[in-house]
């Protein structure tokens, strides 16, 4: 067997921690896959996926303080919210739009995360608005003298929105403890990155906000972990925000309403699947003898069981009463 460098120990991650990371990535993937099946079976109207981005999401989330930090994720961030305490059941409740869905009580589409308890700011659909909220939360946390950072994510297409620019600049000027992570998955629906941005890397934009910018392999959770950890430390030292771009590939169509064959080839997608961060991480963990065959099987079984339970529970759960739609417009 070839000797592979143990990278996670060098980063201060224990074997248990990386296994937990792997399990979280797998759970995100499997919840997502199940959602597609449910959608194709006509049981839920909509899915939007994390597939291909779990490595970046979980790598980043584990670099944060998951008990204290605040996050403003975007719709693909199953891996992030699972790391922050959202459960498969919570996500399935959201997929089925049931009353018990902690994100919105079935009011929002799946992928619109939010939980005060878990410090996940509530999300909307118009892209990039959350970036400003993250900056606001960072400002408020610093005012209150709290030792935390705020972490926000968005797609590369969304990095063109005015709100990204205004928010990044605001954070730069006030040296706020916030981390901007752009999950570059090469497409904004059908539009490839070269028609979205003229710069080589999204991280090239960092200098315009006086902040550090880095582009990282988004299929490598440890590389993302390292970058986010460093950004977090800099933020806590008062050195301001960072912009981290993680490069990977969107393995599914944009959403269950999309047909990606109209704008990209099956070959291109198959090629990208070879670099899938989930399998790469599994291979790495095996190569450093952390993930044995039995362990892999145990993890898969556990995750499958969670997904199964979550689906059954959510499908059987009740909808909110129709008239409850009138509640919570204002404080009551």
């Amino acid at each position: 067997m070839v000797m592979v460098e143990n990278r996670h120990q060098a980063l201060g991650l224990s074997d248990d921690q990386v296994l937990e990371m792997y399990e979280t990535m797998l759970l995100a993937r499997k919840v997502d896959e199940r959602m597609w099946k449910l959608n194709r079976a006509g049981k839920i109207p909509f899915v939007i996926s994390c597939q291909g981005q779990e490595a970046a999401q979980v790598g980043a989330a584990f670099a944060l303080d998951r008990e204290k930090d605040v996050i403003a994720p975007y719709y693909r961030d199953l891996g992030v919210v699972l790391s922050f305490g959202m459960t498969a059941r919570d996500l399935m409740l959201s997929g089925f739009a049931k009353a018990e869905d902690p994100n919105s009580g079935g009011r929002q589409m799946p992928g619109h995360f939010g939980s005060k308890k878990l410090r996940i700011l509530t999300q909307s659909s118009p892209v990039t608005t959350q970036v400003a909220h993250a900056v606001g939360a960072a400002l408020a946390s610093r005012m209150k003298g709290e030792e935390i950072v705020t972490f926000t994510t968005f797609g590369e297409g969304s990095s063109n929105q005015g709100d990204f620019h205004e928010s990044a600049n605001f954070a730069g000027v006030h040296k706020l403890p916030v981390i901007f992570m752009c999950e570059n998955n090469q497409y904004a629906i059908s539009v490839p990155v070269k028609k979205q941005l003229a710069c080589e890397r999204v991280s090239d934009r960092a200098v315009g906000y006086g902040m550090q910018g880095k582009t990282i392999d988004g299929n490598d959770p440890l590389a993302v972990y390292e970058a986010v950890k460093e950004a977090r430390e800099r933020a806590l030292r008062g050195e301001g925000p960072s912009l981290i771009e993680t490069v990977s590939y969107r393995l599914t169509p944009h959403s269950s309403d999309d047909d990606d064959k109209t704008y990209r080839t099956v070959d291109e997608v198959e090629e990208a699947k070879k670099k899938d961060g989930l399998f790469q991480f599994s291979t790495y963990l095996q190569s450093v003898n952390v993930l044995t065959e039995e362990k892999e099987k145990a993890i898969h079984d556990r995750v499958d069981q969670w997904v199964e339970d979550a689906t059954d529970y959510a499908e059987a759960a009740p909808y909110a009463e129709p008239e409850s739609a009138l509640l919570y417009v204002y404080e009551e």
């Binding site: 049931k98 709100d163 539009v191 941005l197 909808y319 909110a320 129709p322």
Partner: protein
């Protein structure tokens, strides 16, 4: 006459106008190879090429703003907002710029720009893919807002919008896209922006509405006819500026008026319709001016029971019409 769906009428109007005038071009998110997420621009990229069917970066303010600049320069851009809900980042460009360009330049510069956007609910779109957004813009002199109900009107009004020398917000009901079909001639024709249209003549009650609700009202009118109630139905078609004359005439005709919108009730454009009636023909009325609208909650939730609770539908319309007739 060929029968076409509402969305086919959109595509047809765009194709004809692009053939007719090389200054017409399309810009928006995913309008190119993908043909639009609703496929309203399907086939146009293939026919007219990338330069005239342009995928833009994901930036609504720039889509509107670049459209305005290109329009000032003498082209006729047709910008697509992927969902009406996502027009909001472009509000400044639309209200401060497009609407005011002719006025502020004392008639020197003009903005012949059409902005298309799919609006409306009933498609499991939840809070941010279901909204009615017309009232946000329905107080902006210089702008026109067209909201057609039938494929025939879509074609004629969209062509008129593209040819208009003033900016037009052209709002298409996304649930109507494939649900509503109707005769649409192959010939070139336009319909006048700013004119409402009597969709049904009647004597007992007047219904004034627009968009998908026109069809609900027409269906209900058929049923009520069997009960001996005759409904007059006015389709506003242009919701800003309103066709005051047509509104006054329709209201006066029966003296009993029901206004319908899918939007939240308070602050919707039917409030203005009511005010026009109360100002001009109050003494012709035999009943209070009724309004049927969505509840005042932030658009409709995702869960089907709550979505249904929110949406106007044929039953709600029928009941409201019967109720008024019985007043």
């Amino acid at each position: 006459m060929p029968v076409r769906s509402y969305i086919e009428a959109v595509t047809l109007a765009l194709r004809e106008e692009m053939q007719r005038d090389e200054n017409v071009f399309i810009l928006g998110e995913d309008v190119g190879v993908r043909g639009g997420v609703f496929r309203a621009t399907a086939g146009l990229f293939e026919q007219f090429g990338e330069a005239r069917v342009m995928d833009t970066p994901l930036t609504e303010s720039a889509i509107a703003g670049v459209g305005i600049g290109a329009a000032m320069y003498g082209t006729r851009p047709v910008a697509e907002m992927q969902f009406a809900d996502f027009i909001l980042p472009a509000v400044n460009q639309i209200i401060s710029e497009a609407a005011k360009t002719r006025y502020r330049s004392n008639n020197d510069w003009t903005v012949p720009l059409t902005i298309r956007a799919p609006y409306g609910g009933g498609v499991h779109g939840a809070l941010y893919h279901s909204q009615s957004i017309e009232s946000i813009f329905a107080n902006q002199p210089g702008l026109k807002i067209v909201m057609p109900s039938t494929p025939y009107d879509v074609k004629g009004l969209l062509k008129a919008a593209v040819r208009s020398n003033d900016p037009v917000l052209f709002l298409e009901h996304k649930r109507a896209y494939r649900l509503i079909k109707g005769e649409v001639p192959d010939e070139d024709y336009t319909l006048p922006i700013g004119k409402a249209d009597v969709k049904r003549e009647g004597e007992d009650i007047t219904v004034i509405t627009y968009g998908l609700a026109v069809h609900f009202a027409l269906q209900a009118a058929e049923k009520l006819a069997e009960e001996g109630i005759s409904a007059h139905i006015l389709d506003l078609r242009t919701v800003y500026p309103l066709d005051q004359e047509a509104i006054i005439e329709a209201a006066s005709k029966t003296g009993k008026v029901l206004l319908i919108t899918e939007d939240n009730k308070e602050g919707s454009i039917i409030g203005e319709v009511s005010a026009i009636i109360a100002e001009h023909c109050l003494f012709d009325l035999d009943a209070p001016i009724r309004r049927l609208a969505g509840p005042d909650i932030p658009a409709m939730p995702y869960a089907p029971p709550m979505e249904k609770f929110f949406m106007i539908n044929p039953e709600k319309v029928e009941n409201a019409m019967r109720d008024l007739a019985e007043f």
